[in-house]
């Protein structure tokens, strides 16, 4: 056979692209076992519902925010994995989406994946991203009376105290 059988990662990307042609923008496989998918933020709940029910991805390993002040956007990354299905047990799927920097609002996935509860609280506090539908949105790690800007944004400079 000239054409190799598609790997699991490629099957996964094509399955998601066929189901959501307008929502999933691109998918790539940088190395084995890691799939990165970029999608539109408005379709998050549909994609999450499909991934949990049909493809049996059942937990969130972490949610990260990345600040790009030069491009005026904040990226939110979801790291999804599966415990129940043995064929995809070692995959890590990274779902990436972009939010505008001034009004960063996205739907919360706690109704679909309960494991994302504390991760969304931390991303709200560190980057100022609001998750709509989260049952308990309050500060997690910083002081109770912290009034300043979200600490992980690139505008907040880390004070360097050094001898040089």
């Amino acid at each position: 056979m000239n054409q190799a059988t598609p790997t699991r990662e490629e099957v996964l990307i094509s399955q998601l692209k066929n189901r959501f042609p307008e929502a999933v923008k691109e998918g790539k496989v940088d190395r084995a076992r890691y799939v990165t998918l970029t999608f539109e933020k408005d379709h998050l709940l549909e994609i999450a519902e499909f991934m949990r029910n049909e493809m049996v991805f059942d937990h969130v390993k972490g949610i990260a925010g990345v600040d790009y002040p030069a491009h005026k956007k904040i990226e939110v990354l979801y790291f999804i994995g599966s415990f129940s299905k043995a064929e995809i047990e070692d995959l890590v799927v990274v779902l990436k989406t972009e939010l505008p920097r001034e009004t960063a609002v996205i739907a919360s996935v706690t109704s679909i994946w309960p494991s994302s509860h504390f991760f969304e609280r931390e991303t709200f506090e560190m980057f100022g991203v609001k998750f709509e539908g989260h049952p308990d949105m309050r500060k997690l790690l910083t002081l109770d009376n912290w009034e300043g800007p979200p600490p992980m944004l690139k505008d907040v400079k880390f004070p360097e105290i050094g001898q040089r």
């Binding site: 940088d30 190395r31 076992r33 890691y34 990165t36 949990r52 029910n53 049909e54 049996v56 059942d58 937990h59 969130v60 390993k61 972490g62 990260a64 990345v66 990354l77 790291f79 415990f83 129940s84 047990e89 070692d90 890590v92 990274v94 994946w113 309960p114 494991s115 994302s116 509860h117 504390f118 049952p135 308990d136 500060k139 997690l140 790690l141 910083t142 002081l143 600490p151 992980m152 880390f158 360097e160």
Partner: protein, 377 residues
Amino acid sequence: MMTQTPTPNITYNKTDEPSTLDVSVGPQHPGSGHVRLLMRVDGDYIVSIDPDIGYVHRGCEKIAEYRTAVSSIPHLERPCIIDAIHLNWAYVLPIEELQGVVVPPRGNYICTIAAEMNRIMSHLYWLAINAGVFSGHTTIFMWAFGDRDLFIELAEWLTGARLTYSFIPPGGPRRDLPFGFEERLTKLLDYFERRLVEYDRIFFRNPLVIARAKGVGILKREDAIKLGVTGPVLRGSGVKYDVRKLEPYGAYQELEFEIPSYEEGDSYARFLVRFEEMKQSIHIIRQALKKMPKGPIARKAPLIIPEGEAIGRVESSRGELMYMVQGDNSDKPYRVKIMNGSFRNLIAMPALIRNVHIADMPIIYGSLDYWPVEADR
């Protein structure tokens, strides 16, 4: 299609019944770091709990953007200092992947031996404090710390420091095994295997410990999968998930070992998972010492982190540890994201400590092996 069982309840009940009382446990340092638990108590029963964390938050992710890759190794290994090799290794794996550096086989074996020694040390600390002192058993506290000191002295001989190793910069470990290290380590492992039998008799078969831990804090398999817990908490509920088998890093591809797991899901099962893991670590170290190849231990790594994004995963003592590093062609990374086992297991606390006696709370907290400094970063 996955059938949907009800999600476990993790909310803090806000009803104002006159018989309940809000008790704040903390902010105090229960053996491993500052944490505060806000409990709603009705007589002798804890109705619900709200973990108030963040007392040890130091901004590790922000600091890592201001330091070069080598210079941030001491910062990023301090969150869980008793497990320092794993935190160090998980940070270095994505940087090596972005830079294209391949560690020679002997270097991988040395890192594996150091990592498994560190796992034994971390589980001994857990046994002494989180399982021993929290249940009132101070004998196992003395014994486990005494035996842990023997491992620390060997690690001091290997790396130069007792606890803060900073042993793995990008490219491979810093030092080779000293002359005479294998004999002394083998003698120590023989001695430690005999001690594990004594631990079994005095602690794990102790009727008081069994009465306090069996049937307490049961985490069913479906709930464990939904809540996304990791590490021994997950393996104590019947899910065999270990990164060392799924995505072998270091020298784990060539070593044989088993993953212990128990079906019951109560605190006693989580105790036994860590006990069995110590035995498996002894087995891994013995194999690695026999199979170790000769050759160089490290390669030179460049100073610049190229553009791109990489993820490194290891299995630390508390669970799956993932670092995501984004580089932008300078010597400092653009973004470092840390996802560790303690922060993922945090959600099990309000789910499990619900409608239990007050005396069950230290046992459940100890069986989760929550390390506050690691969770807060």
